[in-house]
Amino acid sequence: MPVSRFIDGNAAAAYGVKLCRPDVVCAYPITPQTPIVEYIADFIARGEMASKYITIEGEHSAMMATVAAASTGVRTFTATSSQGLAYMQEGLFYAAGSRLPIVMAVVNRSMGPPWTILAGHDDAIAQRDTGWIQLYCGSGQEILDTVIQAYRVAEDERVLIPIMVCFEGFVTSHCYEQVIIPDQEEVDSFLPPYKPPYKLDVEDPMILTTFAPPIHWMGYKKKHDEAMEAARKVIAEAEAEYAERFGRSHGGLFQAYRCDDAEAVVLTMGSLASTTKVVINKLRELGFRLGLLKLKSFRPFPREELKQLLGNVKAVGVLERNYSVGGWGGAVFLELRSAFYKVADGPRILNFVAGMGGRDVTPLEIEAVAKKTLRAAQEGKGEREVEWLLGEIG
């Protein structure tokens, strides 16, 4: 029987990992991810989890030991955050370029300096081009369910791409909620044992991470991109099957809420979506035709699906916890605007940069974002294309 437990986001991630029975777990502590490392150590110590656990000495090694274990043909898990994620960047390319289905929890925290240990998506967004799938979660239940789905997607032979399961530091990682923990047998039937197509094996020797001459190198990248495209379908399939088996859905690539007849939509990722939902409900009651789009998959970016869904909306306000300094807006905003390039009568797209370095994003602020987006829908132009939510202090 599935059980319901009152746990935090990190524990939800750890329970999800436990249910997936990785052969090797290798992680290094960093705030606010540390409890994941500890929960898993406890599971192993209590005999509830049979994984081998490498208590590694740093994140660069954490990623590379995980890559090495995955290259040997076993299921692996690691977790990190912010500075640790940046420290493993070289390994991120190795994992993705080697097409290893590693699953990693990334507890999002802004990159210092200025020093902070609090939420921001800028750490994971900075790793956008490493070739990983990135799925952003907003609740404990979503984290647990997404970890299980992530192994299914990553190990699918059409995909074979590592996945970051991202959720914000403290606001999600340390927030306690009721989380339903499914039965082991149910998860086992959803997630079959990993069958690696290639591995280090003395019975069938091969050279992994080989050298590619110029005529082949770009071909590998193209294949990687094609697999990323295929992942859009596989993510949606996995979500549909999961929903059928477990009775819960988080939307796969994204979740649209009250978007059908909406004039304007607020698009956001992770935990901001739940606050936004409350705001949208309130404004709907007052007669404002607003919707919410919670984007879950940033890589692959579901541009065709979003174009279809948002094609009739007059304005989209992208509320996001990251910004590309010297560019013009956050990564999601730029991506969405690019998707709608040359689409006649596409929506006005506005950017609201918020919540980095742990800055609180209040319902009142989100209400203002929603209203500004709606005004842009009605007037055909926004007050500002990119706006920073800095409150009174700045």
């Binding site: 090694s61 090495a68 274990a69 020797p205």
Partner: protein, 298 residues
């Protein structure tokens, strides 16, 4: 332990010819000899360097994984742990990593794989500089050696610091087996590899691999240089087991250090005073090593 003889060496080759390494490469010999001992139930780890350039292009007949420069120890840890998870117990997990990847950028991961006690063999192929990028100094470059980043000019006079002593650092990690070796003493080296393969836990072997390009000598002299380094006591051969240091080969009448140094262009700039200074340092180093060996006997 009975000593290996030439007749006993396996004829099988696991290090394939026709690869990208230079004529007279010491590292090539070190990998070939070690793999002869370790055999086909071996997984090889490497990181960027001359050896990876060779192995990655097909020189390795056994499974091979190449990772980032700093990651040697981490790769060993990951492969060994995955094999353990699969219940595979009879596969050697061995790294061939250069002196830069060992003494400099990879030291943290090396220290950690030893500290955690993984059952692996780490073989440092020591050619005393970053030879794959054209010969820049590393922490393992010896005092006064000219490299492209420590030229032997009137003011700079080669590397200003002594060679970092990784074998003793590893011994202080309480690794169950640590050894130095030279490709000029092939049987001694291969015996050490064989011994390492029979011991559980992390094993570290640093094998001196002369480099004709980087050291500046004719490619036919590699083995000669590797023997001269030992005969002059510049590179003593020893092993450390359970903290006990044993010198495995003792040149009866040591040759003067000058003979070794003058055979290489990287020491061309040395003056008579330099030669005297280096002779003195080698003598002192040897005396210290003898003391360690003697205290282990007591």
């Amino acid at each position: 332990m009975a000593h290996l003889t030439i007749e006993e060496l396996p004829s099988e080759e696991y290090y394939m010819p026709g690869n990208a390494l230079c004529a007279g490469c010491g590292e090539s010999l070190a990998m070939r000899l070690a793999l002869k001992i370790l055999g086909w139930r071996t997984i090889v780890i490497t990181v960027p360097g001359c050896m990876s350039a060779a192995l990655i292009m097909g020189a390795s007949a056994v499974p091979l994984l190449v990772g980032p420069f700093a990651s040697g120890g981490a790769l060993l840890s990951g492969v060994e742990t995955a094999l353990e998870a699969k219940g595979v117990k009879d596969v050697n997990v061995v790294a061939f990593i250069g002196d830069g990847g060992t003494a400099d950028i990879g030291l943290q991961a090396l220290s950690a794989v030893v500290e955690r006690g993984h059952n692996v063999i780490y073989i440092c192929l020591d050619n005393e500089a970053y030879m794959n990028t054209g010969g820049q100094r590393s922490g393992a470059t010896p005092l006064r050696a000219a490299t492209t980043t420590t030229p032997g000019g009137r003011l700079f006079r080669g590397k200003l610091q002594p060679k970092k002593n990784i074998p003793l650092i590893m011994a202080d990690h309480e690794a169950p087996y640590v050894a130095t070796a030279s490709i000029g003493f092939a049987l001694d080296y291969m015996e050490k590899v064989k011994k390492a393969a029979g011991i559980r836990g992390p094993k570290y072997i640093q094998v001196l691999c002369p480099c004709p390009v980087g050291w500046g000598y004719h490619e036919s002299k590699t083995v000669e240089l590797a023997r001269l380094a030992v005969a002059t006591r510049v590179w003593p051969l020893y092993e450390v087991e359970k903290g006990r240091l044993k010198i495995t080969y003792e040149p009866r009448t040591p040759k003067p250090v000058r003979e070794y140094l003058r055979a290489q262009r990287r020491f061309d700039h040395l003056t008579e005073e330099d030669l005297a200074e280096l002779q003195k340092l080698v003598d002192e180093g040897w005396a210290e090593l003898k003391l360690k060996a003697r205290s282990a006997e007591e």
